[in-house]
């Protein structure tokens, strides 16, 4: 029993990390139907920038805030310099642009920062909580809360505010969005800033657990993308559930079956889910009539 609980804790910790990345994907996707493959780099930038600002003597909270701000600015620049000039390009083109951006940002990070692995201290120490024989680090609770907070914020934004609707409208039909008076350029900038900030927040929260280096973005983007698709792209709730689910599958497979094939188990579950539910668990079917 205690071992099962331990697997669950492990799964939730890792899953919350995936969920945070997936939530970042959701924002840009909802504004532009583009999967931003540089999302992982936002997470990396959040973590790495915090490390370096912290090492320069700024208190951890200040460092984190600065790092998030910096990453959001980079998000805006990415939109302004690479996405906006490509207006009207197909979704595949935009994806390639984001892949280029991720290579670019990674290259830049290895020059501006370095190629070492880093971490900074956990927010509330490293003494684990002991719950029914299983242990959980305080930082894991931070990550879980972070994921929950980001989810609630996004959910409210997309369902309760007109601005949130305008974001969805921009992705659904850019032309129509412009015709009803939405400043689509602003919406895009906003969503890139928001998405980058969410990514950076994830980086800040998870670095004490996962450690960080200039190239962690690739794997995080991959897992986050998978999580977002499992949950149903575009739905914040799906991103949350998808992330946690993949974390749990990996942890229990590693615990009960084989650690060699825990990633495989996650992908098999994703494939089987999609075969039955082609829109993911909570994805919305796009409405197009003929």
């Amino acid at each position: 029993m205690s071992e099962f609980l331990q697997f669950v804790f492990s799964g939730l910790t890792v899953g919350a990390v995936y969920a945070l990345v997936a939530l970042g994907f959701t924002i840009i996707y909802n504004a532009s139907s583009v999967v931003n493959f540089a999302q992982g780099e936002f997470v990396m930038l959040g973590g790495m920038a915090t490390v370096f600002i912290f090492d320069a003597g700024v208190p951890i909270w200040g460092a984190a805030a600065l790092a998030i701000l910096l990453t959001a600015t980079i998000g805006i620049l990415l939109n302004k310099l690479a996405i906006e000039p490509a207006r009207g390009a197909s979704v595949v083109n935009l994806i390639i642009i984001t892949i280029g951006a991720s290579i670019f940002l990674r290259g830049l990070a290895q020059i501006v920062f370095d190629k070492q692995i880093h971490r900074f201290p956990a927010f509330s120490g490293d003494t684990p909580f002991n719950i029914a024989g299983a242990t959980l680090l305080p930082q894991s609770i931070w990550v879980l809360f972070g994921a929950a907070a980001v989810f609630i914020g996004l959910y409210a934004f997309f369902t309760r505010t007109l601005m949130g609707k305008a974001v969805l409208a921009t992705a659904n039909n850019r032309l129509a969005a412009r015709l009803v008076g939405i400043n689509t350029n602003f919406i895009m900038a906003l969503s890139f800033a928001l998405s980058a900030a969410v990514g950076a927040t994830a980086g800040v929260l998870v670095t004490p657990i996962t450690l960080t280096s200039y190239d962690i973005g690739v794997m995080l983007a991959l897992k986050g993308f998978a999580a977002a698709m499992l949950g149903g792209m575009g739905n914040p709730f799906g991103a949350l559930v998808g992330g946690l689910l993949i974390g749990l599958i990996e942890a229990t497979t590693a615990g009960y079956l084989s650690s060699d094939y825990k990633d495989a188990a996650a992908f098999i579950v994703i494939l089987l889910t999609l075969f039955v539910m082609p829109q993911g668990l909570f994805g919305q079917k796009s409405m197009e009539r003929v």
Binding site: L162, K165, A166, L168, A169, N172, N173, L175, A176, A177, R178, L179, V180, G181, I182, N183, T184, N185, Q284, S286, M287, E288, R289
Partner: protein
Amino acid sequence: MLSVNGLRTRYGRIEVLHGIDLEVHSGEIVTLVGANGAGKTTLLRCLSGIQPVTEGTIHFRGDNITTAPSYARVKQGLVQAPEGRQIFTNLSVEENLRLGAYQYRDARVDKDLQEAFALFPILREKRNLPAGGLSGGQQQMLAIARALMGRPMCLLLDEPSLGLAPILVDQILETVKSLKELDVTVFVVEQNAFAALSIADRGYVMETGQILMAAPANDLLADDRVREAYLGV
């Protein structure tokens, strides 16, 4: 209200509007007729800032808006119900309508919403359903209602009767006429030229990217060339 001078535009290398001059006065209903591919839709796209202008100017209420972004034009009261409906298929009917009033956050939005529902009761029935599920004609109603939510000073309509049942065509024409009473200027592109000309003050005839004729609507209705080429009588 709206004046267009020497407007030219191109898709890639092919020029499709070769210097359009056109004037819409405040409170008028003006209609534009022309065959398939004449460039009517393209002209409206230019007016709304969706299609860049290569030469010429567009003035709206005295301001040069030739290069103004679309959202700024909507803010100034130049609103379009586009061809092909262009609704937000994944959003609900009500969300579509509320986005039509994106510029406004006041109480009048709710009032306008009720008016839109009164105009097209079917939309009230389907207010919470995704707009993509609507029938073709219902989507057309939504597109028009959404444009009205934007409180236009000048409304641009691209084939508003497309796909509408005859009884609704009557209603749309009535609505357009009633807009005139509210001091809304209307510029309407219509294939149903007879109907459009019968409610319009003036009309333009367009052919292969050029204005061929401009005259009071009644004169056009009586013109033999127009009757033969567009009214089919």
